[in-house]
Subunit: 446 residues, 2 copies
């Protein structure tokens, strides 16, 4: 039987959604890389009884390892170490050396906040040096140490890895934890898994379901693959996890998807459309400028998320008001009056304006109606026109996107990335064409 | 005893973090509004055994209600309804009327995707009409119905509300579910809770811990309050939940926070800095233009997230390259050469350029080093200069932000919003001053 683990993400702020948890999924990925099977992620508030209940659940389910995130801060609502200590049958003790190390770490804080009551800060942080007896201390990277807590001698149950909530502390401390003998022993039975991802843009998820049924009919042993299909930012992702012996089965499935969905299958190697666009721009030393209306900066923000994007992204124009379209991108007011701000003509003028004003090789433009207001019968909420223009031609597309204001804005950036990808692959509209509806993204299935 | 609930979020894509779950937190908030206590959120993969284990855990914990999200789609890995049926002791049956309704919903899809094999689509979706006998059907809004499934007659256990994963389907269907007699009966014992939030900008979380200790010393009965403090996007949030009888205790605590942290306490009514800036701009009919370098569009995107932002936001300049700073915002190349692109002088020139080029009343600018590369000893990663300029004066600030590229970019937008807020409240720098370090955001505690 394969090694199994559970993750406990603590924090009332996470439970209630004021903070989005990124630790659970990140840890899930790390566990999978090691071939450890994940039972589930429990997101609990800061109440000790609820944290204890989640640990008890995993113990009852027979997992080998539990990883917790959060609840190690200086405030009184941070109780994870104490609850884990009780769960593992271990006394809480003050680790004097750790207390000293935390004191060193706090010293620079005093310099930055001269008015701070340092005695009060030290008192708050002394709490962070009280740990279950017999734990391995990791770090700290911030002021909170990580802990590896095996069950007390003579006691059954999982080993618990206790990590602080801030990702920049949790990430390195997880790697430290994974290198300890206690964790290695707990997950000694991990199975090796492989994982592959196919990404498609421009078909509904139900077509993939049909392809999977066709695969089964052709005798592909789907029960040897764990397949997950999901819609994400207007793309369909098909993730398959399998033991190495099932590689041939996976290869047959991938070939069938390629055969049936070739034109919309844009990635088989894990690369995203953003990766592909960035590497084509970098390799060819092309520069790009953005002009965006309904996305209001999101497309430029998406492109600049990537370190090194300054090699190709010159800048962007956020042309929210019509006056901005004219002043910044040089769109003639008459053009807006004649066709409306959301039109193929204005998208083309914006892309041309971005190229010209930013002196870039490529201009990409988005103009649409993100809602919730501003839609009409002719131009409903979700209607978006896009244009990507390069030295050798342009692509202009109209899409009708489903969902909320946030969905429409986010999906518009995905459609823009795919339009750029296709332009960079050499596709251009016929001269004079304003672009056919881009059925690719015009899907509303949920 | 108060009514308790659990939430099960299904989906391997959520468990592994390819998709960020927003449903768990959203449902947590809805339950709390009704006074239902939340035990925990379980995030599980698509394996039936894991979904069943999570349901079993909640049954064992004695909750009155379980809400599930996801796993109702057309593909074979969507199994929630079946697992819930078994858990509640109910047979799965085809609901012919529901099948008919789903067929109606799918009809427009055929028009949009003329090449689609509609028979295959219908087959995929027929599965969605197979439901536990005796359930109440909700919707559907997309193609997946929601379900309210009480335990079979003579059987103990929670009532289960089964909802589809896409938020735009889940939200209305939850409201439908909450209105059913079965859900009302399950949570009949809900206690009333009140919740208050204090938001502070510019102090480390440990100072709040010190204030809570001071409150306890002054005899404030903190055990009657459930207090959570958390750092979020460079702000500290203090959320307190209490029964109505503890209102006086909360009022004493809030008064103490006000007394000790008045200048950095910017919100007591749940409003965010974004809300405050938006309403001041709207009320005074002021317009705004943005110029941003390291945030690359994020600040404009943050401002345009809000419906109605077109009333005040004219547009923005994403001036990533130095040439863009000159071409778009009119910053003199010599100024950049003399002081560097990340400097108070360039931030001021960018804010002035945004105002002028966009014809806006207020200009706000951000220029900094987001990392991971590009830092020097003098200008390390995380150094950000900001300027907000209005008709009556300006505020220029230098901050040193901790964290990753993403953290620095995101926190920069928060600092910019607070700078705008203070400008709108009438604060200005002395003439000729380039702004003091803004200790407010220069914090690195985790």
């Amino acid at each position: 039987m394969s090694a199994r683990a559970g993750i406990v993400v603590t924090g009332t702020e996470v439970l209630t959604g004021r903070v989005t948890d990124r630790n659970g999924p990140w840890l899930a990925e790390r566990l999978r890389e090691r071939g450890v099977d994940l039972a589930h992620i429990a997101v609990v508030g800061d109440r000790p009884a609820d944290i204890a209940a989640a640990l008890g659940f995993f113990a009852h389910a027979g997992v080998d390892l539990v990883v917790t995130s959060g609840g190690l801060g200086p405030t009184a609502d941070d109780l994870t170490a104490e609850v884990v200590g009780a769960f593992c049958g271990r006394e809480m003790v003050l680790d004097a050396e750790l207390e000293q190390r935390i004191a060193e770490i706090l010293r620079p804080l005093a310099a930055r906040f001269p008015d701070l009551d340092m005695e009060a800060v030290r008192e708050s942080n002394r709490k962070q040096a009280v740990i279950p007896e017999g734990s391995t201390v990791l770090g700290p990277v911030g002021t909170a140490p990580g802990l590896v807590v095996p069950p007390a001698p003579g006691r059954d149950g999982p080993t618990v890895v206790v990590l602080p909530g801030p990702p920049r502390e949790l990430h390195p401390l997880w790697h430290d934890a994974a290198a300890t003998a206690a964790v290695a022993a707990a997950v000694a039975n991990a199975t090796e898994y492989r994982q592959q991802m196919l990404r498609l843009f421009g078909i509904p998820e139900s077509e993939i379901a049909a392809t999977l049924r066709a695969a089964a009919e052709e005798g592909v042993e789907l029960d040897r693959l764990e397949i997950t299909t999901c819609l994400r930012r207007a793309e369909v992702e098909v993730v398959t996890r399998f033991e190495p012996s099932a590689q041939g089965v996976y290869d047959r499935l991938a070939a069938l998807v390629r055969e049936r969905h070739g034109p919309v299958l844009f990635s088989e190697d894990g690369s995203t459309v953003d990766d592909q666009v960035a590497s084509m721009l970098t390799e060819r030393e092309l520069t790009i400028g953005v002009a965006e209306s309904c996305t209001g900066g999101l497309l430029a923000a998406r492109m600049t998320e990537r370190p090194g994007s300054s090699r190709y992204l010159v800048g962007g124009l956020v042309v929210y008001a019509n006056e901005a379209k004219t002043q910044l991108a040089g769109v003639e007011p008459e053009l807006i009056e004649r066709h409306g701000a959301v039109s193929g003509e204005v998208a083309q003028a914006l892309a041309a304006g971005a190229r010209r004003r930013l002196g870039a090789d490529i201009g990409v433009a988005v103009t649409g109606i993100a809602g919730p207001d501003g839609g009409t019968e002719d131009k409903p909420v979700g209607l978006v026109w896009l244009c990507a223009q390069g030295p050798e031609g342009a692509l202009t597309r109209r899409v009708q996107l489903p969902g909320s204001r946030q969905d429409v804005r986010d999906r518009s950036t995905t459609v823009a990335m795919h339009l750029l990808r296709r332009l960079l692959l050499g596709e251009h509209d016929e001269e004079g064409s304003a672009g056919a509806p881009h059925s690719a993204a015009a899907r509303g299935e949920g």
